[in-house]
């Protein structure tokens, strides 16, 4: 039973982690993209649709990633090239994504989807308790863990990551040093879109293989909040996403067991617990200040 619970938690946490990882890179470059929910739902509909039409969930996953990336470029063009307000543009991206996906997905409603099958690694997956959790998961779970390591290594241990952080901290100085601020931000936004798209693909190809309008149901917003509460550090994102998933599942089990706590409180518990723990671990203010991208949300117009 514990094994089954752990598996459920991983499934619930993976889309949050993926979307949040993408947004972390975007925000590290100094761009605030509130359109995560919109990119995610575009990924979900594209993933479901492509899997239906091609008959392969892998094509679906690829389509989800591309759809998220493509959609993020709309945001990139508006905020980076035309220097529009990032908050307003991000919000409209979410609204547009929710509406557009509903329209595109109209003919997919009510169809059972194709599921991306789990990969069990022989031998390792038979270890009791953690075997299934770590080594018999869906492919997107492995990607999410690999990406976490990659993002952490990239941001803190590579020259390119240093450049990314420099652009996010002071775009004026970065520009003065000859760094190509707009181009770097474009790449970051593109990566963020691809991750959000993949998170959406996870929803419609693994989590609940179906298409229904609004199926992201606010997960994009949770991912956004996780980035801030994790003070822009990849490993804390993992902690936040898994804690959120764990408390969500645990409270369902508590309810099914008949624990006499009001269900409204239990439903709020994942949010409360995640905020509490992440605030606690980021209570070191100097550390948090150092990790907050100083240029976050400010448009950059290079002086010619």
């Amino acid at each position: 039973m514990i094994e089954a619970i752990l598996l459920t938690i991983a499934t619930a946490a993976t889309p949050l982690l993926l979307a949040a990882l993408g947004e972390l890179v975007v925000e590290r470059s100094g761009v605030l993209n509130l359109g995560v929910e919109g990119m995610m739902i575009m990924g979900a509909v594209a993933g479901f649709g492509a899997a239906q039409l091609s008959g392969s969930p892998w094509v679906g996953l690829l389509a989800a990633v591309c759809a998220g990336a493509l959609f993020s470029m709309l945001f990139g063009f508006l905020t980076l090239t035309l220097a529009t307000n990032q908050v307003a543009t991000g919000l409209s991206l979410t609204i547009l994504g929710l509406g557009l996906s509903g329209m595109l997905g109209e003919s997919f409603v009510g169809l059972p989807g194709l599921k991306l099958q789990a990969w069990a690694i022989p031998g390792l997956s038979e270890i009791p308790l953690i075997g299934k959790l770590l080594f018999a998961q869906d492919p997107i779970f492995y990607i999410s863990i690999a990406l976490t390591v990659a993002v952490w290594w990239f941001v803190f241990f590579t020259r390119a990551g240093l450049t990314l952080r420099a652009v996010g901290d002071s775009h004026v100085s970065a520009h003065a040093l000859g760094l190509r601020v707009i181009r770097i931000r474009y790449l970051a936004v593109l990566f963020g879109g691809a991750c959000a798209g993949m998170a959406g693909g996870h929803l419609s190809l693994v989590y609940t293989p179906q298409w229904t309008e609004n199926m992201t149901a606010g997960r994009g917003w949770i991912a956004l909040a996780l980035v801030v509460f994790a003070s822009w550090l990849p490993w804390r994102l993992v902690a936040g996403a898994y804690l959120f998933g764990a408390v969500t599942i645990a409270q369902f089990h508590a309810q099914a067991q008949g624990v006499g706590i009001p269900s409204q409180f239990l439903s709020a518990l994942p949010y409360l617990a995640t905020i509490f723990v992440l605030v606690l671990i980021s209570s070191n203010r100097r550390m948090t200040m150092r990790n907050t991208p100083a240029s976050l949300g400010k448009p950059f117009v290079p002086e010619r």
Binding site: G110, T208, A256
Partner: protein, 356 residues
């Protein structure tokens, strides 16, 4: 959210202008709380709208607004419809009750039909609702027959009378077959979140239930049940596609007969304000084909359905005790409509505390 609604309203205004040249005698308009693609509540209302179009062809023009939040936005949406020449407006969510009545007072020539509410402040407002709980009783009986563990799981949305009635009816049905039958209830506090509903279903199955039933709108629980190889009941629409070997039956909300009837009344000039609570007898509550169960269970279900449809049997008939063991209905006594509509207590046998 507000921006979307404005955008939608602008679009509707544009359509309204374009549509003025049409020769339709009656314009029927619908306001939905969710997207029509939810394959649940709003989807079924929209199926009703399509049936109206089908029935009357060019004589009736229809229009709809989807995902209209309950509250101030609803008032604007309804008013816009009233101004744009709608003759009858269906407002299909409980939270539209006050906005509907407010706008109805301003437009005495327009007919208003509000679903699942109870306020009729002016003679141009009707209210209508549906006895879904009748289907729940049958589901309870089937569950008790089919289950091996003797425990079913119930994924519930919000602790409102409509949902509580369903839970009570389900357990009454189950206990009419197996007095020891148990029901585990999980509240997800949302009408629609496929992921959460799937998680709730998984939690219930991990706790040993082998039947899943839901009062939320997505098809996710059905899919989880199919994956885990247990049985489940669909909700609002026929979900057999998502679990061909899983779905026992489903309660289908069929609004088409009512919508056709009411639009026809407007066409004929016979529309009058009324308060109806339709069920199986009127064809408002329909059971999806009984499947994946032995023949004797199927026959039992059909028999109960026939008795409920003919009015011979009513699920809330005594003796029934409340959860705390106190007596609610005496032998043969039927629940009065006020208690039914405001039901805020469990009957005996539900293994859960009702959130207040």
């Amino acid at each position: 959210m507000r921006n979307t609604t404005k955008f939608v309203l602008a679009a509707v205004a544009a359509f309204g202008l374009a549509g003025q040249a049409s020769a339709a005698e009656v314009k029927a308009c619908f306001v939905y709380v969710g997207p029509i693609g939810d394959f649940g509540w709003s989807y079924q209302h929209d199926q009703g709208r399509l049936a109206v179009e089908e029935e009357f062809g060019d004589k009736v023009e229809t229009a709809y607004l989807e995902s209209v939040p309950e509250g101030a936005d609803a008032e604007r949406a309804i008013e816009r419809f009233a101004r744009s020449g709608c003759d009858i407006i269906f407002t299909t969510s409980f939270g539209y009750m006050d906005p509907t009545n407010k706008i109805a007072a301003k437009f005495p020539d327009v007919k208003f039909e509000h679903a699942t509410g109870y306020k009729r402040e002016t003679p141009n407002v009707s209210v209508y609702s549906s006895k879904f709980y009748q289907g729940r009783y049958i589901q309870g009986q089937i569950a008790a027959k089919v289950s091996e563990t003797g425990v079913a799981g119930y994924i519930a949305s919000f602790p409102i009378p409509e949902v509580v009635r369903g839970i009570n009816s389900f357990i009454l049905g189950a206990q009419s077959i197996d007095p020891d039958f148990k029901l585990k209830v999980v509240w997800v506090n949302t009408w629609f979140d496929p992921g959460k509903e799937a998680d709730a279903a998984k939690a219930l199955i991990d706790q040993g239930v082998d039947i899943i039933t839901q009062h939320t709108d997505s098809t996710a629980p059905m899919q989880v049940a199919a994956e885990r190889g247990i049985k489940a009941f669909g909700q609002a629409s026929d979900m057999a596609n998502f679990g061909p070997e899983t779905q026992l039956t489903s309660i289908i909300d069929d609004w088409a007969p009512y919508y056709v009837e009411r639009v026809k009344a407007v066409l004929d000039g016979t529309w009058e304000s009324q308060d109806v609570w339709h069920g199986m007898a009127e064809g408002n509550v329909v059971m999806a084909p009984y499947a994946n169960m032995p023949d004797d269970v199927k026959e039992m279900a059909q028999e109960t359905e026939a008795k409920i449809t003919s009015g011979e049997f009513e699920p809330f008939t005594g003796p029934i005790k409340k959860q705390d063991g106190s007596e609610w209905l005496a032998e043969g006594e039927k629940a009065d409509i006020g208690t039914m509509l405001g039901m805020n207590f469990y009957v005996e046998g539900v293994d859960d505390q009702l959130p207040q």
